[in-house]
């Protein structure tokens, strides 16, 4: 079930690279629609990209779709990425470990809850500047056409 409102995003994302790119554009459009500035937006998009990449590369094999939730309030953006299976140990090596390191550096607070059946990554980003006034078209902005590349 997917749900998109002005300040809430809930997406079920298939575990493939194409869908990760679509998720990136969606998230970027949603953050933009909520008045999140460029620096915060780029950091959050990269952090979610890395979490999604880890879910694809290091989760259960064959990979299952993963769940992304995001909320925005005046002070912060909070995102949760849930995927089935634990990120495998080898994700500590090479780009998997680097990705998690990047997530921790890009976000204000990161919690990784690894269980036998699932990995839950919860990350929040404090906003240095409160979001600009949201367009009155709120949700409709997100449900329109996908943003083009280069707007990230």
């Amino acid at each position: 079930m997917s749900r998109v409102t002005g300040t809430t995003l809930e997406l079920e994302v298939p575990p493939d690279k194409e869908s990760l790119s679509v998720l990136r554009r969606w998230l970027c459009a949603w953050l933009r629609a909520n008045g999140i500035g460029e620096v915060d937006r780029k950091d959050v998009v990269l952090a979610v990209w890395e979490a999604g990449a880890n879910a694809i590369e290091h989760g259960r094999h064959p990979p299952l779709s993963y769940h992304v939730e995001a909320t925005i309030d005046e002070a912060k953006v909070v995102l949760t990425v849930v995927n089935a299976g634990s990120w495998r140990r080898d994700s500590r090596k090479s780009s998997g470990g680097l990705g998690l390191h990047m997530i921790r550096a890009l976000m204000s607070d990161v919690r990784v809850k690894a269980e036998a059946e699932s990995t839950v990554v919860t990350m929040s980003r404090r906003l240095d500047h409160p979001p600009a006034a949201r367009p009155t078209t709120g949700p409709d902005v997100v449900s329109g056409s996908l943003p083009t590349e280069g707007q990230v």
């Binding site: 079920e12 194409e18 790119s21 679509v22 390191h101 990047m102 329109g144 590349e149």
Partner: protein, 138 residues
């Protein structure tokens, strides 16, 4: 992605495949260095292309390589891994890799991963070329 997701359609994916997963890779010799310019998004889609091109250059005995990210809009951990691999191969052959990166957000990615020194990240192409021509510090 979930078909109920508004705005998501096979057409959207087709557009992405046509326009989104190509790196514009061009090579030129400049002041004694081999400059590889990278245009587009350096991510897990395009990392194999970047790796293949860098391997080709190293196989062709290029030993002073500058990766120019001036026209790069996004870089992820997999692409950083590709740059690290190339740097390792070059270092083993007494070569040098340097990176030109003027964009503040991309520079921040190198900084938070503590790779700005090991990958010799410079803000201008001239500085990166100077860096690549200097003897390896290791």
């Amino acid at each position: 992605m979930n078909p109920s997701m508004p705005g998501y359609s096979p057409g959207a994916v087709a557009d992405e495949q046509l326009s989104g997963h190509m790196l514009d890779l061009t090579v030129r010799e400049l002041d004694g260095a081999c400059v590889l310019s990278v245009g587009g998004q350096a991510d897990l889609h395009t990392a194999p292309d970047l790796r293949a091109r860098l391997d080709e250059l190293i196989d062709a005995d290029e030993r002073r390589i500058v990766v120019d990210l001036t026209e790069t809009s996004f870089i992820d951990s997999m692409s950083l891994g590709v740059l690290l691999s190339a740097r390792k191969r070059l270092a083993a052959a007494e070569g040098v890799l340097a990176v030109c990166c003027p964009d503040d957000h991309l520079r921040r990615v190198f900084e938070i991963t503590s790779l700005q020194d090991v990958l010799r990240v410079e803000r201008t192409l001239d500085a990166a070329i100077d860096c690549a021509r200097r003897p390896n510090r290791l």
